[in-house]
Amino acid sequence: MSPASVLDVVLAAAVLAVALVAVLLPSRRGAVSAFLVLGVVLAVLWARLDAPDIALAEAALGSGVAGALLMDTLTADPARPGRRAGRTAVVVGLLAGAVALAALTVVVRAVPDEPSLLPAAVAEEIHGAGADHAVTAVLLNFRSLDTLLEAAVLVFAAAGAGALVRTPVRAPDPVPAPVTALARVLLPALVLLGTWLLLAGTSRPGGAFQAGAMFAGALVVAFVAGARFAASQGTAARAWTVAGVLAFVALAAGTAMLGQGWLVLDPRWAGAAVLTVETVLAVSIGVGLAQVFVANSEARRVPS
């Protein structure tokens, strides 16, 4: 196993430092901005670990959507002072954390350095899996149930967040001109980038989630720029959020009834199936994330 190169050490140190800063800064604003920096550094780390898909997802989702959500919360007033826990609890927690970390690092040293069985297995079966890019094949064929459930998590998170909204949603009051101008530029770019990512997924890093994040970004920008349709609160919006999961389940049911079994993608039309599911999934993820963002911001609005 190659020794740790200087770059690795520096990168590791950077990640750790930014993480520490993110959690130790007392103010919310500081913590959130440190978190955004951490997102960037992490994307670099993922690239270093030659995981391009993850880098993209991190950039789009990890720092993108999550960052947007967090930034949005900054406008709210600071937290109410709750009952201070005793100092002993914090001290005990820190000590226990330190011990746990030490123990964990020793335990982790016992990790065997040879690869697991799965990469070889995937390599063998990739040819008929409907997608050349291994990660997409795993996501949408070999472990398709995970992806389906993951989409479901998003759907129900959106439903949950939506349920919390009390006031009827309406577009924000008049938006300053530069914002709309910027939006007019950004929107087509984001949409174009999303579709490209989606299509590239079959052969190169990319895929439904990264594309979905792009579309979510587009929608958020449109919402901020005052576009009513972007509020994505209507029945149509909810239909789109759910479309991904429903399409996947329809596919599964179809393969169960007609094909050889649940989610069994016949090599002949596996590629087409994967692509269609990915597109629907991407759009629904986009709308879903946008819904969560809007629900968050609306929850803050004071009913006039």
């Binding site: 472990r143 049911a253 050889q260 079994g261 649940w262």
Partner: protein, 493 residues
Amino acid sequence: MSALLLPALVLGPLAAGAVAAVVPRERGRVRAAVGLTTAALTALACAVVVGGVATAPGHEVRVALAGWEPPLGIVLRADAASAALLVLTTLVGVAVSVTVAVRDDAGGGPAFWPLWLGLWAALHGVYVTQDLFNAYVLLELVTVGAVSLVALGKGRSAGPALRYLFVAVVGSLLFLLAIALVYAEAGTLDMSAAAGRVAPGPLLTAALALTLVGMGAKMALFPLHSWLPVAHPAAPAAVSAVLSALVVKAALVVLWRFWVALAPAAGGAAHVLAVASGVAGSAAVLWGGLMALRQRRLKRIVAYSTVTQVGYLALVLPLMAPGGEAARAAWSGGLLLVVAHGLAKAAMFLAAGVLTAAYGSDHLEDLRGAMRHRPWVVAALGVAGVSLAGLPPTLGFAAKWQLLAAGVESGQWWWVAALLAGGLLTVGYTAVVLRAVSAPADAGEQAPEPPPAAVPTVQAAVPLALAVAAVVLSVLAGGLAGLVADTAPRGLA
């Protein structure tokens, strides 16, 4: 046929939940209709699957999703244990669905249905999945569903929901780390496949420890239980029933599956962890019981009762350790207890919900006279209490009998003492409740006036139906226990 239906158990309710989410909030009736039809269909499917499990040769129904066998693909496998849990989930699920359909503020508004159906699908998934990461994703789906449902509760339910979310996610992260460690060593994510590829060592022990702590946090095992008595009472009536009866069991099932698959290979360390779980369980039994005695609010008493019963369930790990006859008895006892507790606790929380709706508050002082005006609801509370205490003729007694037999067989007297003490404490706080609701009509006091709000009769009858199910099912205990016993795990010897 049952093999075909198994994935439908997971995907069916999921799709229905999605559909319910689309239906606009104003059209509550349509959402309820979707919910009820799904409940009916799921019940049928469960029956077929459970029948399949009972008749199948190895008492198991196995489906490799997407046609890929492990280590590549994900396998859904329903064995006797899953059958028991499916039975429980169906009964409680149908009861809760009926209750909310009849009176929608018991579920906290129209948003109940999509979240509940999603949660229901996730629960089915957790019972049948064989894949570690798949279990993680399902647990997250359960958490999202449950937290959102808690947040629907009236009054200050957002705080407890948030706290529950944080605890659950922390637990899941620890479990994810454990999965990573197991994957690092075994190279596969399928539990039964991984069992053969792990060796006693720091990695496996760390994984076991992390899972125990993670799942302990999610199922509110004693030192980590503080969130439950805050979260469950805050939820709407039907939701707290689902939480205590089913959601707590999801984490438990994952822990048991993980333990049964990987603990035997871990050698001595697993024993130490099992004993730790036993100690935590016994402490939970005593702590939960004593705290329940002190509460002056009905829902908090029932919540602390859940802490007690989770303590019982944690005792199954050490009881299974010695293996052989004791392990078989412990395993079947544990599963019977899961079913018995599920039914009884759902009955208790639904009954508490009815009383709270009728009297406007769940303070024991305000419920004086409920015995006279709502006898059947109080009867449900009583019968559920008896089943929780493990007294005959209920299913709880059969479960307690098996656990005691396991304890005595393997000579672990501490857990036997905890089991017995727990039973007494349970009767203790049930008696406190029964005494509070039956107005002692001494000469001085005037007869208690009837409750202000009317409650639909169906909603009042559901708790009693569940409580009676807990009694009637004791007749089936034999079949269930026999089915479960012969698929019991070999011990940790």
